[in-house]
């Protein structure tokens, strides 16, 4: 009996599916280092800018990735985010301490996620449809209550306040947004890969019937994933509003699809059950690096989505091809 062939198994785990995203990250990184004029891409100021701006979308994408592993989508992130930001602004206007407001807005985001989750589980309709509806509902709602007017937050959160420092300051050359992003990715990675609940997420996404038959609380799992995502949207909303110094009704526009693109580049399967936290965390950066690199190469800003579209398709095709080889092996 070949009981002791662990090396092979470890190697099997390190298949292309896990390695492709880090590899793509490195390739994108070196490509733009090479191609950007005067290597401007790797200029510390440029890298710091990427590290500061990417977590807005990145934090949302972490939750989108987990939810997609559980087999569901959420398009309403693009509305949960600005709505959370609006509630944050209103709480500050009402005189609440920003940290207290933060502690209120995170559960608010989770609550919006709860609504999505319960609707999906109770109606049995595809989450794509449900969250498309809540996306439109909340955005319409936001436009009406906010009158589309931005609200300056600088009076409540001055740039040198503790709150602003905690969320938008920096440690040495590293922006705090990046550190928060890493911290959240690590915590969620532990939940996803090492906890019992993590196995429920994978099981629910991989084979919902099997999971249910084995006693996994699949509905609770899905609802919880929606709630995690809602809280992350609220987190990103406040971090972004603090950086911008204002609430803007345009916050989060386009995030729903950009997050899915990032997560897919991160190696998460659209059919659920497949993906890992490292990939998800890097996927967003790949998209942002392409975006940033092309701007540095003076590609017209409005044409950049074209390239990102191409990159996503190429990556997914390549990923599928190599994965198929791996499975038939």
């Amino acid at each position: 009996m070949s009981r002791f062939s662990l090396p092979k198994s470890t190697w099997q785990q390190l298949n292309w599916g896990t390695l492709s995203t880090p590899l793509a990250f490195l390739i994108a990184f070196f490509l733009f280092w090479l191609l950007s004029p005067e290597h401007r891409f790797t200029d510390p100021r440029n890298l710091a800018a990427i590290a500061k701006l990417t977590p807005d979308l990145g934090i949302v994408a972490l939750g989108v990735g987990i939810l997609m592993i559980a087999g569901e989508f959420d398009l309403s992130v693009a509305s949960i985010l600005p709505l959370s930001s609006y509630v944050f602004a209103q709480l500050l206007i009402a005189g609440l301490n920003p940290f207290l407001a933060f502690l209120v807005v995170i559960p608010f985001g989770a609550f919006l996620g709860l609504i999505n989750g319960v609707l999906v589980v109770r109606t049995g309709l595809p989450s794509f449809i449900i969250t498309l509806s809540t996306y439109m509902f909340w955005r319409g709602f936001l436009y009406v209550v906010s009158g589309l007017m931005p609200i300056s937050l600088l009076r409540y959160i001055p740039k040198d306040s503790v709150f602003a420092q905690v969320f938008t300051g920096q440690v040495g050359p590293v922006p705090n947004q990046f550190l928060w992003y890493i911290a959240l990715a690590v915590v969620l990675g532990i939940v996803l890969h090492l906890s019992k609940f993590g196995n429920w997420i994978y099981s629910t996404g991989a084979n919902v019937d099997a999971a249910r038959a084995m006693g996994v609380k699949v509905n609770m799992t899905k609802i919880t994933c929606f709630m995690i995502l809602g809280s992350l949207c609220a987190f990103a909303a406040m971090m972004q509003a603090t950086r911008l110094g204002s609430f803007a009704a345009t916050q989060g526009i386009g995030f729903e699809l950009k997050a899915i693109a990032a997560v897919v580049v991160g190696g998460v399967s659209l059919r659920g059950g497949v993906g890992n936290m490292l990939g998800i965390a890097l996927g967003v950066f790949i998209i942002q690096i392409i975006d940033n690199g092309l701007i540095l190469m003076q590609v017209p800003v409005f044409g950049i989505n074209t390239f990102i579209g191409i990159a996503v398709i190429l990556f997914v095709i390549l990923n599928n091809l190599t994965n198929r080889e791996f499975v038939t092996e």
Partner: protein, 252 residues
């Protein structure tokens, strides 16, 4: 009728079970029992009520009328969870496993052991999965292997290793040999014999009489929501049984 037992108490006894879906009466007064360590083949045409019957046992459906006894005690199984807590495990044909996940994650799905930190005890999962697999005579390199890379027979092995590990008293196999190659069917039948040797009772649902006939002690044939024949495999043969299934009646 369930009084044939002289001394041994049946593990599971179902009396006069009724179940309808809307206006359709799927089960009409089913009497069924199985002894400890017994292998019973449950046969019958599509729509005979086989899967509804096992779903009543496994807690997916609740009977409208009738009683269920487990080891002599009346039970009211309201969910798959309760059924499993009573020692009844069901292995469904396709839906038992998540192919994208590893063997050990599948075996412990929904019942992951945890360490003091509240994280999954992956070492225990790997060791115990390996033990359960080798106990079944299945050679695998590692329990981290993805189930999707296994053959059909090996996959059934994983599903069965799971029920052995969790010390089931009664295992319900739903079409375990469907879509398997001949060699794999033989493997699965070997797993069933292994279960019996461990004292586990098995209800084996199948369309293919030949598969079950070799391993079953008894065959129960269902038609139109009742059990129309319940015969020891010693007293019958495949031809007689297929005749009963096709005609949907027994004894003229």
């Amino acid at each position: 009728m369930p009084e044939q037992s002289n001394n041994t108490q049946p593990l599971l006894q179902m009396i006069d079970i009724y179940k309808s879906f809307g206006r359709v009466r799927v089960l009409r007064g089913v009497d069924f029992e199985i002894a400890p360590g017994e292998v019973v083949g449950l046969c019958g045409d599509n729509g005979a009520g086989k899967s509804t019957l096992i779903k009543v046992i496994s807690g997916y459906h609740q009977a409208e009328k009738g009683q269920i006894f487990l080891e002599g005690k009346e039970v009211n199984i309201k969910s798959p969870h309760e059924s499993r807590a009573l020692g009844i495990e069901t292995v469904y044909q396709d839906q038992a496993l998540a192919t994208q996940l590893s063997i050990s994650r599948n075996i412990f799905m929904g019942r992951e052991p945890t360490t003091v930190l509240g994280l999954m005890d992956r070492k225990a999962m790997a060791d115990q999965s390996m033990e359960a697999m080798t106990g079944l005579g299945l050679k695998i390199n590692s329990t981290d292997t993805l189930v999707g890379t296994l053959s059909g027979g090996q996959r059934q092995g994983v599903a069965i290793a799971r029920v052995i590990h969790f010390k089931a008293k009664l295992v319900i196999l739903d079409e375990p040999t469907i879509a398997l190659a001949v060699k794999e069917v033989r493997e699965v039948l070997e797993f069933v014999r292994h279960l019996r040797s461990e004292g586990v009772s098995v209800i084996f649902i199948t369309h293919t009489l030949h598969h079950v006939f070799d391993v079953a002690d008894r065959i129960a044939v269902m038609a139109h929501g009742t059990i129309i024949a319940d015969i020891s495999t010693k007293n019958t043969d495949v031809d007689e049984l297929s005749d009963i299934i096709v005609r949907g009646t027994y004894g003229e």
